[in-house]
């Protein structure tokens, strides 16, 4: 096993059958037209739906990692994968390949490859399609190390998948299934909020010795543009990041929703004079309990927001743990602003997602509790 691990540094990228790169497929989608062009005169109905529910706020240019380049989220992911593949210059182009259309097969093969010690990065085209592979992830990948008493493991497996609402995805191109996987000890679940975060977190997932699921917010693929270092770098897993310090309310989110609550924090400061602490959870499982609890002890109020449905969503886990740890520090009940308990709708999407107004409303009610 050790010998195999040493020699087999080759890396395989499995991907379900698609047009040359999933990126070209997203080319013609409404995304660039919606965000980069000004709405042309196609009628009020069409115009209304082009406005996104968030504004991407880039982080300042990182200086400690060397030269940077302007990249959007999918370019950052590609850069991370290029860096990873470059670690083994002897292997050839055929380690990046398309598979037939079988999610269970893709993840199953990935687990098999990883068990021998080789690094496998499997792509599931949309997170909504990950469910045929759910059995493989939960029953095989997550439990391999545990059931073999550490003799075998599939730690070198990373599964990446586009995630979250995209403005027009409807039922099967918009889901956020992180909560299903949060219930499974043995795997790690990571969601980045920006290109810089995505590259660092993805490289950490690939190097992490545990099977990881990396969900990429697909609405940010082109909408999020930032300066990202060209060289590889790591962002530690299971560490949440406080991106705005505050003293009155703690706001927690991940992925696209971080940008929504950032805006809510700015609104609260301006309109209510309330100082909000904004935390990006980054790793869903295992999550950074300490950072969140320390913040709630300071502020006394917590609001968690995510697109996934309310019941059983990850906000319920955060809520439950925080009330256990910080009960006496809480000034108001913990607020969860999430999607409705319905399948992700087609035409009702703008009403379904927890946009900044719903979060702001919840925040106001918490302040006045």
């Amino acid at each position: 096993m050790a010998a195999v691990a040493a020699s087999a540094g080759w890396l395989l990228r499995l991907r379900a059958a698609g047009a040359d790169g999933p990126w070209r497929r997203l080319c013609g989608a409404g995304l660039p037209r919606g965000f980069l062009q000004s709405a042309s005169a196609y009628g009020a109905a069409a115009q209304r739906r082009q406005v996104a529910h968030f504004t991407f706020q880039p982080d300042p240019e990182p200086v400690e990692y060397g030269q940077t380049q302007k990249m959007n989220l999918f370019q950052a992911v590609t850069s991370a994968l290029d860096n990873s593949l470059a670690k083994d210059p002897t292997a050839g182009k055929d380690r990046v390949f398309n598979t037939p259309l079988c999610e269970q097969g893709i993840v199953g093969f990935g687990i098999g490859i990883a068990v021998t010690g080789a690094t496998a990065i499997a792509e599931i085209q949309f997170a909504d399609y990950i469910f045929p592979a759910f059995d493989q992830i939960v029953n095989e990948a997550a439990k391999y190390r545990y059931r073999s008493g550490d003799l075998f493991n599939c730690g070198s497996l990373t599964i990446r998948s586009p995630w979250g609402c995209v403005g027009h995805g409807a039922l099967y191109h918009s889901q956020s299934p992180e909560a299903f996987f949060a219930h499974c000890p043995g795997i790690k679940v990571v969601v980045p909020r920006s290109p810089f975060q995505a590259k660092g977190l993805l490289l950490s997932c690939i190097e992490d010795k545990n099977p990881c699921i990396f969900f990429e917010p697909k609405i940010l693929y082109r909408a999020a543009v930032e300066q990202v270092p060209v060289e590889p770098y790591n962002i530690p897993l299971s560490q949440a990041e406080v991106i705005r310090e505050g003293s009155d309310v703690t706001l927690v989110a991940w992925g696209t929703q971080v940008h929504v609550i950032r805006e809510v924090a700015a609104m609260a400061q301006e309109k209510l004079g309330v100082s909000c602490e904004v935390i990006d959870l980054r790793t869903i499982l295992p999550w950074d309990v300490d950072t969140v609890c320390k913040s709630v002890i300071k502020t006394g109020r917590l609001l968690v927001s995510h697109e996934a449905p309310l019941t059983g969503g990850f906000a319920s886990e955060i809520s439950s743990t925080v009330q256990e740890e910080c009960f006496l520090n809480l000034e108001a009940p913990i607020s969860r602003v999430c999607g409705y308990d319905t399948p992700f709708p087609h035409i009702f999407e703008p009403f379904y997602i927890p946009d900044k107004w719903k979060c702001y409303d919840a925040l106001r009610k918490m302040i006045n509790y």
């Binding site: 059958a17 698609g18 047009a19 040359d20 070209r24 497929r25 997203l26 080319c27 013609g28 989608a29 409404g30 037209r33 196609y42 009628g43 109905a45 069409a46 739906r49 082009q50 398309n98 037939p100 259309l101 079988c102 269970q104 097969g105 909504d128 399609y129 469910f131 045929p132 403005g167 027009h168 995805g169 409807a170 039922l171 099967y172 191109h173 309310l310 019941t311 607020s335 969860r336 602003v337 999430c338 999607g339 409705y340 308990d341 319905t342 399948p343 709708p345 087609h346 035409i347 009702f348 009403f351 379904y352 927890p354 719903k358 409303d361 919840a362 009610k365």
Partner: protein
């Protein structure tokens, strides 16, 4: 009949230009009522005999098929247009080029038989009885749509048509289940379970084959092989591209999916086979789609424009039927042009409706989650905004 003919003739003579009716009535003397055609022999797997190699097409049927195929073609092109104008959003998978499959399948079965398919479903929605209006307004997400605007392109349903499924391959076991119900109820109905060449590689399809064959279910598995699973050609995705043999222990047929008569005969043959209790059958329809996988796919990065052009000029299903009918005096070119004009008008009307119909009311957001009495509240974005679920 004689009276009508006389009246028509007199109308023509009096110079009133009621073109369509009179022309058809007067000119119908020139047309033959039916014609016999030779059709391509199907490749067989585990079968001694296949569908017949000759078939009779009546004038009435021919006109009906032509109109249906032309409607589907125009409807898909209109959907393309509406998508580019952003009236339709989301994911839209068009089936122009595959009209002979939908119409041929419908011609080979009864309205009481069952059909289930994947997301490239607009053609089948129409042949199963939905109006163009309800299809287009479902695409634009309005309340006149067949699923009240809540489903969109991939989730349209009709009587004995179970959708419209987004997840690739998920409809395989569902179709086998419907067939089990047919067998159990003993109503002599069959279930057509359609899937594509990409889905043929899904595990669940093999599971469906096994169960259908084990219990002799009246299920016809139909693989619509349009040569590309999204952007991957069949050679790059499948170890064996003979999809009609992939059922292993299930007998199979490979059918020319661009010739509607071939599809019709093969479907009738397969339906008879299943109805007689011999178990499932697998049909592979060799067809082609002109558009890309969906509206986000230009469709030319994995295949050449020349290929698309050559299929369009040599094996376009509507063109093939038209040539057959005109060359065998079943219809005239002008008559078919009139049908084209009618179809165009119908589609334009439907598109107008689809663009102007109001969207479903916001309360619908919560409806039909569970079947429950009394209605209950949906928990939502925060504890202060609630929707009722009525079902």
């Amino acid at each position: 009949m004689k009276k009508m003919l006389t009246a028509a003739v007199s109308r023509v003579l009096s110079g009133v230009t009621q073109k369509p009716a009179s022309r058809v009535l007067v000119a119908s003397c020139k047309y033959s009522n039916n014609a016999t055609f030779e059709i391509k022999k199907c490749d067989l797997y585990r079968l001694e005999e296949g569908p017949p190699v000759t078939t009779v097409l009546t004038r009435e049927d021919g006109l009906k098929y032509y109109k249906m195929m032309q409607t589907i073609r125009r409807m898909e092109l209109k959907a393309d247009q509406l998508y580019k104008q952003k009236f339709i959003r989301g994911f839209c998978h068009l089936c122009d080029g595959q009209e002979a499959c939908c119409v041929g399948l419908e011609a080979g079965i009864n309205p009481t038989d069952h059909v289930i398919t994947s997301y490239r479903a607009h053609g089948l929605c129409y042949t199963r009885g939905l109006t163009v209006r309800s299809i287009l307004s479902e695409l634009t997400g309005r309340r006149g749509g067949c699923a009240k605007g809540k489903g969109g392109s991939m989730h349209m349903y009709a009587k004995n048509f179970y959708g419209g499924n987004g997840i690739v391959g998920a409809q395989g076991p569902l179709g086998a289940g419907i067939a089990l119900a047919c067998k159990y109820k003993g109503n002599n109905e069959v279930c057509l379970t359609l899937y594509g060449d990409g889905a043929a590689n899904q595990g669940q399809i093999s599971e469906a084959y096994n169960m259908a064959a084990l219990w002799n279910l009246p299920c016809i598995f139909i693989c619509e092989n349009n040569r590309y699973g999204m952007g991957t050609s069949v050679e790059r995705a499948a170890a064996s591209t003979d999809y009609y043999k992939r059922g292993n222990f299930i007998p199979g047929l490979r059918v020319d999916g661009m010739d509607i008569l071939c599809v019709r005969e093969a479907t009738k043959f397969a339906a008879d086979y299943c109805r007689s209790g011999k178990g499932p059958m697998l049909m592979e329809l060799l067809t082609y789609r002109y558009h890309g996988h969906s509206m986000s796919d230009p469709g030319i990065s994995y295949r050449t424009r020349e290929e698309i052009q050559s299929v369009r000029s040599k094996s376009d299903p509507i063109m093939l039927l038209k040539d057959k009918m005109v060359n065998n005096k079943l219809a005239s070119v002008e008559e078919l042009k009139e049908i084209d004009a009618e179809v165009r008008k119908e589609i334009d009307d439907a598109a107008q409706f689809a663009m102007t119909d109001p969207e479903p009311p916001l309360e619908e957001l919560g409806h039909h989650i569970y079947s429950s009495n009394p209605p209950f509240d949906i928990r939502g974005a925060n504890q202060w905004i609630k929707f009722q679920s009525i079902s």
